[in-house]
């Protein structure tokens, strides 16, 4: 009986996964098509010739290189800063077990779950007051706070079970708290920190709402914001839209391939201990 089921199960799964992947395939297929080719042959045909002009025209039109750099700069800065803040917080809460520890942890968990709508207008107003509106600095500061709230929550539970003998050995050797953190705790927890870094980088890269509000000048925008505000532009046709989608998909898929192992290890760690 099992022999008959096996091809059926595999065929069903294959159809399902192809359905999930079909939008990616459609985008890849049509990003290299001439508009006239699309008009006559539709979205499912192979391109009649490899046509790069749609991609290059769009790249130049939105100055995509600049958008990539903006996204990279913002996500990279947030990931580094948020890991540092998370480590400092988790050192105090997980290893130091400072008073009110569980209240702090609940605060950080809730801070991470809060809808950004509840913060956006005051942040918009305050950033205008201090001259940080429409700067990448504002976005970096805000996301460092939001991401490190999650990082603190996660890392505190990792540090709560940190081997005590290590800390005691460091103390006997006369290491202070800062030295113990830097020489003992950080190196040993490096795998957890790299998972956090990866998550912070990708989450910040994918963010849309706050960057949309805060980065109004074209030359400061990130990839998702630049692409998102162009949508609905009357100049967009089928092939330009798929070219723009391909440019938005490519970096994300690249990160996915690079970080796949880190990600699948990390997706779980936050949720169920």
């Amino acid at each position: 009986m099992n022999r008959a089921i096996r091809p059926a199960v595999l065929a069903t799964l294959t159809v399902l996964v192809l359905l999930v992947l079909s939008p990616f395939a459609l985008v890849a297929l049509n990003a290299f098509k001439r508009p006239a080719d699309y008009a006559t042959n539709g979205p499912l045909s192979l391109p009649d010739s490899l046509y790069f002009k749609g991609l290059t025209d769009f790249w130049i039109r939105v100055d995509f290189g600049e958008k990539l750099w903006n996204s990279f700069f913002i996500s990279g800065s947030v990931a580094v800063l948020a890991v540092i803040v998370s480590v400092l917080n988790a050192y105090a809460l997980g290893i130091g077990r400072v008073r009110g520890r569980s209240l702090f942890l609940i605060f950080f968990l809730l801070a991470n779950l809060l809808p950004q709508e509840a913060l956006v207008y005051p942040l918009y107003y305050l950033s205008k007051e201090v001259g940080l509106y429409n700067t990448q600095t504002a976005v970096i500061i805000i996301f460092t706070a939001i991401q490190s709230a999650f990082g603190t929550y996660l890392l505190s539970s990792v540090y709560a079970v940190f081997p005590r003998e290590m800390l005691e050995a460091a103390a006997i050797d006369g290491a202070g708290k800062v030295r113990t953190l830097w020489r003992v705790v950080v190196p040993i927890s490096w795998p957890s920190l790299s998972v956090l870094f990866t998550f912070f980088f990708i989450w910040t890269w994918n963010e849309f709402f706050l960057p949309l509000v805060f980065l109004i000048s074209n030359d400061k925008q990130t990839v998702p914001v630049a692409l998102g505000v162009l949508q609905g532009d009357r100049l967009m046709d089928a092939t330009t839209t798929s070219a723009s989608a391909l440019l938005g998909i490519a970096p994300a898929v690249l990160f996915f391939l690079i970080f796949q192992r880190t990600l699948s290890r990390g997706i779980m760690s936050g949720a169920v201990k």
Binding site: P23, G42, A92, L114, A145
Partner: protein, 297 residues
């Protein structure tokens, strides 16, 4: 015993940051929700007027009705599909065909999750576009013109179209979560059940689903919260339209903040949304705490 004094200093940078970016703005938002304010000049204190106005606002009710649909699309349906897919991949494909095939399928299902939501919106905006979209072109080529629709522009179909996109986007997350949850299940349980004559479905319900209950709670709660926060896809695809057919609370708040200059009203919407999310999170924490107690016993 090591002294625990002196660690509090390490909290200072994080505390200042949370104060400036989270606590103060959150308190300000609640305060603003009791005022009439256009974003300039002095806010005028009007008490609960914004909230009573919300209760009579059709758009507000529409946005919450739509959220119920989006919770089905982002939490309920992907959890159900994800359970079956994860069980088949774990219990059948990984064992009979090989773990590499199973993880290749898993990656395929997960791929939409790695995209920026705005880019997801662009992809689907093009596929569903009535004049040059891929879906209608495919239907027309196949001689099914009658099925071609204005997917996002017709209030009858707009919300369902968005739901399909969200299911596509979301289904990989439960698959990944449940597959790793299933690794905790003792294989002997499966064997014992097989010997007792349990079929695949019985083993699935009685063993797999039962054993990964904690993961199911986590997925349901996190995806429900994600559904309540949906913004990017709606902004890119429909801007809440046509009419208010796909309006969601976050976009409704955004409109009042930045398009209509009704900051007090927008803050009231954001406050209600926050209360709902915090309430859900508390329920979630309790369920998790109860689970831990059970494990300890």
């Amino acid at each position: 015993m090591r002294s625990n004094r002196g660690y509090a200093a390490f909290l200072i940078p994080g505390a200042i940051l949370s104060l400036v970016v989270i606590v103060v703005p959150l308190v300000m938002n609640v305060a603003i929700s009791f005022t009439r304010w256009q974003g300039v000049g002095t806010p005028e204190w009007i008490g609960l007027d914004n909230y009573s106005r919300l209760l009579e606002d059709d758009n507000f009710w529409a946005s919450f009705r739509n959220i119920i649909f989006l919770i089905f699309a982002m939490a309920v349906i992907p959890t159900a599909i994800g359970l079956v897919l994860a069980a088949v991949l774990f219990d059948y494909v990984a064992k009979r065909v090989g773990p590499r095939t199973a993880s290749a399928f898993r990656s395929g299902f997960y791929l939409p999750q790695v995209l920026p939501v705005a880019v997801t919106g662009i992809v689907w905006g093009w596929i569903l576009n009535p004049s040059f979209g891929a879906l209608n072109a495919i239907l027309t080529n196949a001689g099914l013109d009658a099925l071609a629709k204005n997917w996002l522009g017709d209030p009858t179909y707009a919300l369902y179209s968005v739901m399909v996109m969200l299911i596509w986007f979301q289904v990989g997350y439960p698959v990944v979560m449940f597959m790793s949850g299933l690794q905790r299940v003792d294989p002997e349980l499966y064997e014992a059940a097989s010997i007792d004559g349990a079929n695949w479905w019985q083993r699935f319900i009685r063993i797999a689903v039962y054993q990964i209950k904690p993961e199911i709670y986590v997925v349901l709660v996190t995806t429900t919260i994600a559904a309540l926060k949906v913004f990017g896809q709606i902004f890119v695809l429909t801007r809440g339209g046509p009419g208010n057919a796909t309006l969601v609370p976050s976009y409704f708040a955004y409109q009042n903040f930045f398009e209509k200059a009704q900051v007090g009203y927008g803050s009231a919407i954001a406050t209600v949304l926050t209360l709902i999310i915090v309430a859900l999170s508390v329920v979630f924490l309790r369920i998790q705490a109860r689970g831990e107690q059970k494990d300890a016993l």
